[in-house]
């Protein structure tokens, strides 16, 4: 019994030891402290990249105190990664900052320094930066300082979009400068369950690849060409249905074949051959054909051979073909994709004013039967003034636009055109594009239901969002939206979502 008692006494002695009172000797003094009241301010700010982060905390300032403010923004440490450097984003009490940081979790910290007594107070806000680059229209335009990009999202583009938004200046906010040179093209390349998910932006002397999900820079032209001695003069770019990145640079064809690593999907040397390309490309080109261009030097279509990086003629046409791809003999005005995964090319005769629409099936193999049809456009109204073209993917119609009018051309039925839309006086059309997201998954019911028409009045740019009937091409005369753009629009392109 005694033995048990001793055991318990020993255990009790050990436990009681930890209850010893701390006999500290402290002096307390009241000091005027700045109090930051975060009541009513949410715990986490969820914000779209490139939009305004606005935080207005209430502070209680002791009378007669001189305060100094500093807002810091830094990445949230989520694992044992290195602590990212903090960036000072404001020195005002109320924060109003356009988030150009990549998508991620951040901390916004307000530090209030009381210059009177040297004491500091701080408060932290969680900021979750997301980007919504799914389903929208990318607008590339030219300002006096250089090129820039806006991103438009409206309910007409996806059932998931409830409100109309226009995110301005994606390029300049991301890069801290405008796109150098004359803006040429913007294109979204997206491949399901593959690494291809980026936006390519080009001007006549620069090229950039941006992440599709949030428009952060992946690499610029220094890292996009295998041969760095090549003169950079991009003119056109597409991502084809055969998964090739195809570009025309300095009248030559450059192809970046797909691969496992984005870092290795670069443009090689110009395809070898005696040719000079018109600055137009079609995305509806099979992997077998590689890429297709129109050689202005010999007035013919040429195709690409991946294994030798060369271009060459198509096969001779079989009996009954509407034309010979090896000898078109006309000047190309435009080329785009349209119905049945075909490519449509607009031509002008080398002499005279005759205009033509040629249909071609480049999504097939080179079997000598790629010429689908030739349509004489010569007698259409104002056709000699046409500057912009689009061909429907749903019906047998196409649009052509003069400086201020859009015509609906029924090429498959009556071969006539009727006025579809008139731009307000004083404005001039600078670009016309369907909303045609590729891939169209989840928005097949929205594809080609909207036509975007950009105008310029000499000082300001506008983008009209026009509702259209996808099979007839009839345009609703009341625009769904009209967007103000800070420059002259050079190109527009749909941004898809895709899978994976």
């Amino acid at each position: 019994m005694k033995r048990i008692l001793y055991i318990y006494i020993a255990l009790a002695a050990v436990f009681i030891q930890s209850c010893k009172k701390d006999l500290g000797n402290y002096d307390y003094m009241d000091t005027e402290v700045v109090r930051i009241d975060t009541g009513g301010i949410g715990a986490t700010y969820r914000i779209l990249r490139l939009s305004h982060l606005q935080i207005e905390p209430e502070i209680q300032i002791p009378e007669g105190q001189d305060l100094q403010y500093q807002w810091l923004l830094y990445g949230k440490q989520t694992t044992n990664n290195a602590v990212p450097p903090a960036k000072e984003v404001s020195n005002q009490l109320n924060l109003d900052y356009i988030i150009s940081e990549p998508v991620g979790e951040y901390i916004a910290e307000l530090i209030v320094t009381n210059n009177t007594n040297g004491l500091k107070s701080n408060v932290l806000f969680n900021v979750s930066v997301t980007a919504n680059m799914e389903f929208g229209m990318m607008i590339l335009y030219q300002t006096a300082q250089g090129g820039d990009v806006d991103f438009i999202r409206t309910p007409a583009l996806s059932a998931d979009i409830a409100t109309t938004t226009q995110t301005k200046g994606l390029y300049s906010l991301t890069m801290g400068k405008y796109l150098a040179g004359q803006a040429k093209f913007i294109w979204s390349a997206r491949q399901a369950y593959q690494i291809t998910n980026w936006i390519t932006v080009g001007s006549d002397n620069s090229l950039g690849r941006f992440l599709g999900s949030d428009f952060t820079l992946i690499r610029d032209q220094e890292e996009l060409f295998r041969n760095r001695e090549l003169e950079i003069n991009p003119q056109a770019y597409v991502f084809t249905i055969g998964s090739q990145q195809v570009m025309i640079n300095g009248d030559k064809l450059l192809v970046a074949t797909t691969g496992f690593f984005e870092s290795d999907i670069k443009f090689g040397s110009p395809a070898d051959g005696d040719y000079e390309l018109a600055p137009y490309l079609s995305p509806k080109v099979s992997s077998g054909l590689g890429a297709v261009g129109y050689d202005t030097k010999h007035s013919r279509f040429i195709r690409y051979f991946i294994s030798t990086n060369t271009v060459g003629d198509f096969s001779a046409p079989v009996e009954g073909q509407a034309f010979d791809l090896r000898n078109i003999g006309k000047d190309m005005l435009y080329m785009t994709s349209g119905a049945s995964n075909y490519t449509y090319a607009f031509f002008k005769d080398k002499t005279g004013d005759a205009r033509w629409l040629y249909g071609l099936n480049f999504s097939a193999t080179d079997n000598g039967a790629l010429a689908i049809g030739a349509y004489n456009m010569t007698s259409l109204p104002e056709i000699s003034s046409a500057k912009f073209y689009q061909v429907s993917g749903f019906g047998g119609y196409a649009y052509y636009a003069t400086a201020d009018k859009i015509y609906n051309y029924a090429y498959q039925s009556t071969n006539t055109a009727s006025l579809a839309f008139q731009i307000p006086e004083g404005e001039e059309i600078t670009c016309m594009k369907y909303y045609r997201p590729t891939p169209n998954s989840m928005v097949a019911d929205k594809e080609e239901r909207v036509l975007y028409v950009a105008t310029w009045n000499g000082t300001n740019g506008k983008v009209y969002e026009l509702a259209i009937n996808e099979t007839s091409g009839v345009v609703n005369q009341t625009p769904l939206n009209v967007f103000e753009v800070d420059g002259k629009v050079a190109d527009m392109s749909a941004r898809a979502k895709g899978f994976g």
């Binding site: 048990i4 255990l11 041969n227 691969g259 290795d264 030798t308 990086n309």
Partner: protein
């Protein structure tokens, strides 16, 4: 009484269990001498062992009479907080290079706190290299810091010359090797070595060429060869042929 004993024994067992948890035995560490082995590896899925390297003085300026090659080595044993010396040693069998004439070993380092280092070999540009390729089979030399380690990684072969020798690897896209073709490539691209991506599923390291890079080089060379042949039309060296009389093609 009986119950109190049981409770007491239970309490003691629990306390003892916690106390004994701190007595876990440490796993035995590496107790051998520090050792060293060659650690050149290919950038492929399996990190394949690389046990040889070629070198030519031809791409160096004429006045450069020596060059130092470095072979990556890795240590066995504890990390040590001081620089450690490594040294190469000749294996006589199969070696045609003469130490002190064709090459010298100089001490290399495994820096403090590191498990990898570089073993240097100084190669000399001797006259006979114009006509022949010399071979050095080397192993890890014993120093105060290291002995030789892994048997499979204790031999490395260097071959060098002052003339063209087929680089390893020779890109598939360039077709059959010939000295004339190789010289043409060096003249046109300014590149003599082609460390390359071995698998499209492994991202190429900095300094390595991807398969697409090599394919693009072949494309550029094809265009340049045509231009050069056009320039030489009517001259004795038209069209470009290799040392065996075969046409050079890419």
């Amino acid at each position: 009484m009986n119950f109190l004993y049981k409770v007491t024994i239970g309490v003691l067992l629990i306390v003892g269990l916690f106390a004994l948890a701190g007595c876990e035995k440490d796993i035995d560490g590496y107790t051998q001498d520090p050792r060293l082995y060659f650690f050149e590896r290919a950038n492929d899925v399996n990190r394949t062992r690389v046990s040889s390297r070629t070198f030519t003085f031809l791409t160096l300026a004429d006045e450069e009479m020596k060059d130092t090659l470095y072979i990556k080595v890795k240590t066995m044993g504890e990390i040590v907080n001081r620089d450690r010396q490594v040294m190469g040693k000749t294996i006589a069998e199969g070696t045609t290079a003469i130490e002190g004439v064709d090459f010298d070993f100089i001490p290399g380092l495994v820096p403090a706190g590191n498990i990898e280092g570089l073993l240097p070999v100084v190669l000399y540009r001797t006259l006979r290299l114009k006509n022949e390729t010399v071979v050095l089979n080397l192993t890890i030399g014993e120093t105060a810091d290291f002995k030789a380690g892994v048997i499979e990684d204790e031999v490395f072969t260097l071959s060098w010359a002052d003339r063209l020798i087929q680089p390893n690897p020779w890109p598939f896209y360039f077709g059959a090797y010939s000295n004339v073709k190789y010289q043409f490539i060096i003249d046109e691209l300014g590149i003599a070595e082609f460390p390359s991506q071995l698998s499209p599923r492994v991202e190429n390291l900095p300094g390595e060429y991807s398969l697409a890079d090599l394919q693009d080089m072949a494309s550029r060379l094809r265009v340049r060869l045509r231009e050069v042949n056009t320039e030489n039309f009517g001259k004795p060296n038209y069209p470009l042929r290799d040392e065996n009389g075969a046409l050079v093609v890419f």
